[in-house]
């Protein structure tokens, strides 16, 4: 028990709900479907071994893998779509604004990036998604959206011959420079997603370790723990008595302003 006292002796933390369980579930559905898409996609791009021996008429490895790729894609699209809808609702505290690259968000993200990179300045405590993370999630979502579009542009001409979807997808594919270019985009953007996810995971672990706010449990259990001392100006709210009306999202975000440290109440 000795180690417990090395950092933050006596620091009081408050459990702060950051996500609905629904949002957590969607995150992991999205994660699993993207992993499945990446793995099956890798096979489709480099089918270096063949699975299942036998006559071609009775073996369907590539067909099956493509099937799972498409299946995972529907999961991915559905969860992305549901999450997008929830971003406008209370159950996800209407967080759409936190993900959009608005000038304010970008400005805050730059400041935050500077802090993360150098350690200079005070650490801003964001209850939900911080502007830098929001920007990253925006980029990942946008990349996923590109994957959905290019995926459909390849899927529709192949799987829906003779329909309006076919000619529709075909026109768009050709205006982009042909199916081969669509394929190239689909392939390269996957690397972009891998890189962004890598950074995302690293940043979560890093924040979890450096700021001791339990960021990791936020995506699993839906809460974080904030040091009471450092979110002093919310103390009356976080402290003993609950305020009638919860603070607005803007108020939460502006928690990045330097706050004078106080003794924890109680």
């Amino acid at each position: 028990m000795t180690a417990g006292a090395i950092r933050h002796p006596g620091e009081i933390y408050l459990v702060v709900r950051t996500r609905s369980i629904l949002a957590c579930v969607i995150h992991w559905v999205l994660f699993c479907s993207v992993v499945t898409l990446a793995v099956t996609g890798a096979y489709i791009a480099w089918p270096s071994y063949y699975f299942g021996k036998g006559e071609a008429y009775a073996t369907f490895t590539m067909a099956d893998i493509r099937y799972y790729h498409f299946l995972a894609a529907t999961f991915m699209m559905t969860s992305l779509l549901v999450r997008f809808y929830l971003a406008f609702t209370e159950s996800c505290h209407k967080d759409i604004k936190q993900f959009l690259p608005t000038p304010r968000n970008i400005k805050n993200a730059v400041q935050l990036a500077y802090h993360f990179a150098t350690g200079r300045g005070k650490h801003p405590h964001y209850r939900f998604v911080n502007p830098l993370g929001g920007l990253g999630i925006f980029l990942i979502s946008a990349s996923l959206f590109i994957m959905v579009c290019t995926g459909f542009l390849m899927y529709l001409p192949a799987e829906t011959p003779g329909t309006i979807w076919h000619s529709w997808a075909f026109s768009i594919a050709h205006s982009l420079g042909g199916l081969q270019i669509v394929r190239l985009i689909h392939h390269v953007v996957m690397y972009v997603i891998i890189a962004l996810v890598l950074i995302h995971v690293y940043m979560q672990i890093w924040k979890n370790s450096v700021y001791t706010e339990s960021d990791i449990s936020s995506i699993i259990a839906g809460y974080k723990l904030f040091p009471l001392r450092q979110i002093g100006h919310f103390a009356d709210y976080y402290g003993i008595k609950l305020r009638e009306k919860p603070p607005s999202t803007e108020e939460m975000d502006s928690a990045s302003e330097p706050v004078p440290a106080r003794e924890p109440p109680g």
Binding site: Y13, S20, A221
Partner: protein, 230 residues
């Protein structure tokens, strides 16, 4: 709305796992993952076919190589883990994992808490229920090591000191189980049991994180969790 709710509970941060401890956990995790995947191929080699001339194809050889490599990582991390269980400056946990009367009682209490949702006493490192589960998992890992070495040594040149050492330390396993084919069988079956154990372990950590709001799962990443302020 649920998401806006902020718990009035006050918590205090507690360091529960030092860096070495966490590192060992993840080394164990990744090596077991690799062992499971490569082991699946070795047990079910028709899963992947190599193409081309046999003299130029090394799929099974490569996969066995990574299996052994991962096993080495696991062996080393387990050894360090055992050493620290008795010698750690931070937390000597060997007692917490033995089925002593106190541990069993605590474990029963924790098990009850899962059913009644009544929060058990705070355990900084792991609760007695986990302790017993870890003991089981560790025992399985040790058995996998023993059976694994026994299988491994069959392919080693006999006049090699290293193989002599393995023979001396693990031949009794073969004798006990009744021949190398049974060793293989046990190695295979125990893996499936371990998979079940790992699933239970992961589930419990997530459940505890959600129910008790102690940031429990974060401790294996950041090294800390939280304790209620009385």
């Amino acid at each position: 709305m649920a998401v806006r709710e902020i718990s009035p509970q006050k918590k205090v941060l507690v360091y529960t796992r030092n860096f070495t401890n966490r590192l060992i956990h993840w080394a164990t995790f990744f090596s077991v993952l690799v062992l499971m995947i490569t082991g699946y191929y070795i047990g079910e080699p028709t899963a992947v076919y190599g193409q081309g001339e046999a003299y130029n194809q090394f799929i099974m050889a490569d996969i066995r190589y990574y299996h052994f490599l991962a096993a080495m990582v696991l062996d080393v991390s387990l050894m360090i883990w055992f050493y620290l269980a008795f010698m750690s400056l931070h937390h000597r946990y060997w007692k917490e994992m033995l089925p002593l009367p106190g541990t069993i009682k605590g474990a029963a209490e924790v098990a009850k808490s899962y059913l009644t949702f009544k929060k058990p006493p705070f355990y900084a490192h792991f609760d007695p229920f986990d302790g017993l589960l870890f003991m089981v998992l560790i025992l399985f890992m040790v058995m996998q090591m023993l059976t694994g070495f026994q299988l491994y040594v069959q392919a080693l040149p006999a006049d090699y000191w290293w193989s002599e050492l393995i023979h001396v330390t693990t031949d009794w396993v073969s004798a006990l189980l009744g021949g190398s084919q049974h060793v293989r069988l046990v190695h295979h079956i125990m893996q499936w049991i371990m998979v079940a154990g790992i699933i239970i372990h992961v589930y419990l950590q997530i459940a505890k994180t959600i129910i008790w709001q102690d940031g429990h799962i974060g401790q294996i990443v950041g090294g800390y969790k939280f304790r209620d302020v009385e």
